[in-house]
């Protein structure tokens, strides 16, 4: 097979060509005419729209094997769920939803036919089984696609069904030049052989060994299946050692994965808590509105996506500064007009900020919606990052982990290396003295609270990519946030980082044997006991003043 890398001919040409070859049909290059669907397709579609599940499944096969030129496009239409039955005309069409209307296009030539209401267009729905059948039909076509990535996907799609004959795989292997695709084909071949009851002897043994060394997660299934059925001792021992080899490799990667899960959970906890580490840890405000400041950040992300429809990625990136600013300004307003009147009475800040938390929550309910809003993930935050066939990490969590570290690094830099950071530390350590040397402590307070609130906003932007965005978002995080800050040691940013990551990893290590509910309970108890051992957290604040009360 020729390798089309930036070929001179348009890829469409090759696609058509190869597909035609695959279907073993004469290729017709004449332009598509506005004609009726071929009868074979028409009748298949009628079956597809019916209720008999066997007939429907057959209909898909009939379309795939019809050899008509429209079949692939038709399969795509079916897969995307755009096939409609135009009731008044009794005709099958492609429909696009436009608000509450449907725009109908002809299947044959794509001509726009009409715009109708809900009552006139009935969707021809397909279920999971049919979708699987359509996909597998399309994947078979992909096996000889010009794009190696597509071919790879095509090969992988065969891992579950193992329906491609060995001879066919051998033929494909012969013409394949891409190493990744070759490797997959070899695995596919081995899997097919191992699950083939009639296979035996040397080829089988090689295949078993190959699967034992394979990194393809699906390789275990045929091995185990054959092990259960087999009654040949030699075969059995080969299978069992292959299974063992495979499983031990799997377990090693499983451990790495578990730690990653823990770090990911931990980094989310750190993000949620880091703003509180400033408002509560550094300034001593028992900020019950912290959760709602997180919520505002998440809603900002939503709002940005509303303003930039179709650009979720750009919106998300813009939401980072915007989320910071929105929460920071709300925080600064709260500080300037209310909290600033309460310094020296930290417990009363609890009452005050709790009041704000109720107001912010209800404000979102009243002015936006009591229901959750949809925030979408941009493509670079969906799917997984495959480090190894046995170890893929989900993108959104990887990104958030780095985001967390970046936020922490920037915060550290601000605190340690900027004039503002210096003044902030001066004010929190010795307000009077700082004032004496010319620091405007009132202004620093406001800015500091703004910083903490803004960090909460950043957490909200990140959290919007993981779960719900709704009025209750903040409440879900407030208890955990306080716990992380206290566990790490109030007033110590490193403590928050290490504490958060530590709690995350510990949770994930307990979870497999205790279950999620008990893991959380055990962890809370562990933190309570830990505080008994170290009453001032992981990294106790040092200095004389810290020892009092």
């Amino acid at each position: 097979m020729m390798n089309v890398r930036g070929g001179t001919l348009p890829p469409v040409f090759f696609q058509r060509l190869w597909r035609a070859v695959l279907l073993g049909l004469a290729v017709c290059f004449s332009p598509v005419q506005a004609a009726d669907l071929p009868d074979a397709l028409q009748s298949a579609l009628e079956d597809l729209a019916g209720r008999d599940k066997v007939l429907r499944l057959e209909a898909v096969e009939r379309i795939a094997n019809s050899g008509t030129e429209e079949s692939e496009a038709l399969l795509q239409v079916i897969l995307s769920g755009e096939l409609y039955h135009w009731k008044p005309e009794d005709r099958f069409v492609r429909g696009e939803k436009d608000g509450r209307k449907f725009i109908l296009y002809a299947l044959e030539d794509g001509a726009e036919l009409a715009t109708v209401g809900r009552r006139e267009a009935k969707k021809v729905s397909i279920n999971n089984t049919l979708r699987g059948a359509v996909k597998s039909a399309l994947a078979t076509l992909d096996l000889i696609a010009p794009d190696p990535a597509k071919r790879l996907a095509g090969v992988r799609a065969q891992f579950a069904a193992l329906a491609v004959p060995v001879e066919r795989i051998d033929a494909l292997l012969e013409s394949e030049s891409d190493t990744a695709v070759r490797d997959s084909l070899v695995t596919l071949r081995a899997m097919t052989l191992v699950s083939d009851e009639t296979a035996s002897g040397e080829p089988l043994m090689t295949a078993i060994a190959a699967l034992g060394n394979s990194t393809e997660p699906g390789a275990l299934t045929p091995l185990k299946g054959r092990f259960e059925r087999s009654d040949d001792d030699a075969e059995k021992s080969a299978l069992s050692s292959a299974i063992k080899a495979f499983e031990s490799r799997q377990a090693r990667f499983g451990m790495v994965k578990q730690v990653f899960f823990g770090l990911s959970l931990g980094s989310i906890l750190v993000l949620a808590a880091i703003g509180l580490a400033i408002t509560f840890g550094v300034m001593g405000v028992i900020n019950m509105a912290h959760g709602e400041l997180i919520m505002l950040g998440a809603y900002t992300t939503w709002a940005m996506q509303q303003l930039l429809p179709g650009q979720p990625g750009v919106a998300l990136l813009l939401a980072i500064p915007m989320g910071f600013m929105v929460s920071a300004s709300v925080g600064m307003v709260m500080e300037r007009f209310a909290i600033s009147k309460l310094y020296g009475r930290p417990l009363e800040t609890l009452l005050l900020t709790f009041g704000f938390s109720l107001i912010l929550q209800q404000a979102v309910r009243t002015f936006i919606s009591a229901r959750n809003v949809a925030v979408s993930n941009p493509s670079w935050m969906s799917g997984s990052l495959e480090l190894h066939p046995m170890l893929s990490l989900t993108m959104n969590r990887v990104v958030i982990m780095f985001f967390c570290l970046a936020v922490f690094a920037v915060l550290w830099w601000v605190m340690q290396r900027t004039r503002f950071g210096l003044q902030l530390r001066a004010v929190t350590q010795h307000r009077e003295m700082a004032r004496c040397v010319g620091v405007r402590s009132r202004r620093i307070d406001t800015l500091t609270f703004g910083l903490g609130a803004g960090l909460a906003g950043l957490a909200g932007v990140a959290l919007s990519q993981l779960g719900n965005v709704g009025p209750n978002l903040g409440q879900a995080w407030i208890v955990d946030s306080f716990l992380v800050v206290v566990f790490g040691g109030v007033g110590n940013l490193w403590g928050t980082l290490i504490g958060g990551l530590g709690i995350g990893v510990a949770t994930k290590l307990i979870e497999p044997w205790s279950g999620a509910v008990l893991a959380k309970v055990l962890l809370l108890v562990a933190v309570i006991l830990f505080i008994q051992r170290r009453p001032r957290g992981l990294f106790p604040p040092s200095g004389r003043s810290a020892g009092d009360n």
């Binding site: 729905s125 990911s264 959750n372 997984s384 959104n396």
Partner: protein, 431 residues
Amino acid sequence: MKVLKKFDGALTGAAIALSLTAASVGTAAADTIKVGVLHSLSGSMAISETTLKDTMLMLVEQQNAKGGLLGKQLEAVVVDPASDWPLFAEKARELIEVEEVAAIFGSWTSVSRKSVLPVLEELNGLMFYPVQYEGEESSKNIFYTGAAPNQQAIPAVEYLRDELGVERWALLGTDYVYPRTTNKILAAWLADNGVAEEDIMINYTPFGHSDWQSIVSDVKAFGSEGKKTAVVSTINGDANVPFYKELGNQGISADDIPVVAFSVGEEELSGIDTAPLVGHLAAWNYFMSVDSEANDDFIDAWLEFIGDEDRVTNDPMEAHYIGFNMWVKAVEVAGTTDTDAVVDAILGVSVPNLSGGYSAMMPNHHITKPVLIGEVQDDGQFDIVWETPGLVPGDAWSDFLPGSKDLISDWRAPLSCGNFNVVSGSCGGGS
């Protein structure tokens, strides 16, 4: 000391005055029929329940436009039990005793219904409960218009087994009574149908669980052992979004491991980026995408009432629609809103549901409904892929639980019993 006395008097006075304000409100209007709406408008359940409050307001408005009931206008009395379960009981008492409502439409969670139940029975009030639940209850004073497990869970599992050829089952749920009971029933059903124990995986998570990494990874491993696997999800509200996102990100598509959910509907999907969910399933008795005249009318009316073209309709809304119409019809038949008369009159009442048929109130205070299976589409709607040929009557007492298999409920005279034990032949469940 004079000042002191003044204070004393003022405080007692204030206390008495406050305690009476509630009482004096109720006696005002007698020329309307009051309908209580008991749905949380704040707190964790507001996400779901606010919509039902609006639905009730719409239904009441529509009925008034049709001339009211028994020649009187209907008046909706809305209270906010704030997702606080004891408050449900208190507010129900307020509605019945102080506001003197003729019927209450309300509650979402089972615990809120359980909290209200003693009040309803004590004061002989009426409540229509619109949400699918775990069954195992039949009160004289409650009408269950949502699905019982046999109207949702079991048909869904049957569909997965028969149509998709599923052989392995991961039952994931939030740790509370509805998932526990549903999973118990399903486990019993699966065992009866020859599914081996190692082919069933059960996992519970806390409310609002947001970190699904390990569990989804376990499910993936569970599903990669050759047999066709499906997830039956009784995961509650808030935990769903992170669950589906994780599923999508770990590369599990609906073709590999389909998830069928019993608490994810259009309303929930409207707050989700649906991309990772496409192709996953839900089982309900109604979908917004149902193709019927009644449904089209209902949707039009709803969108107009709420003034927002993007809003959706869902199953519990249909349940209120059915329940409200049944109540109206029963009141018309009885000629009064008196509880006992309405309870008698409503049995057997049949009203159109939104999927083109009729639902009837059965003697066990549950209703007949069709069961639909839908697949999630990228526009947040469901594509109906299967439905029961006829209506399924709701079963108050599951046949798959040892404690309740001998119980039946029949509120018709002479039995008039919600938990009649057919073995011992006595009312009260005892054997």
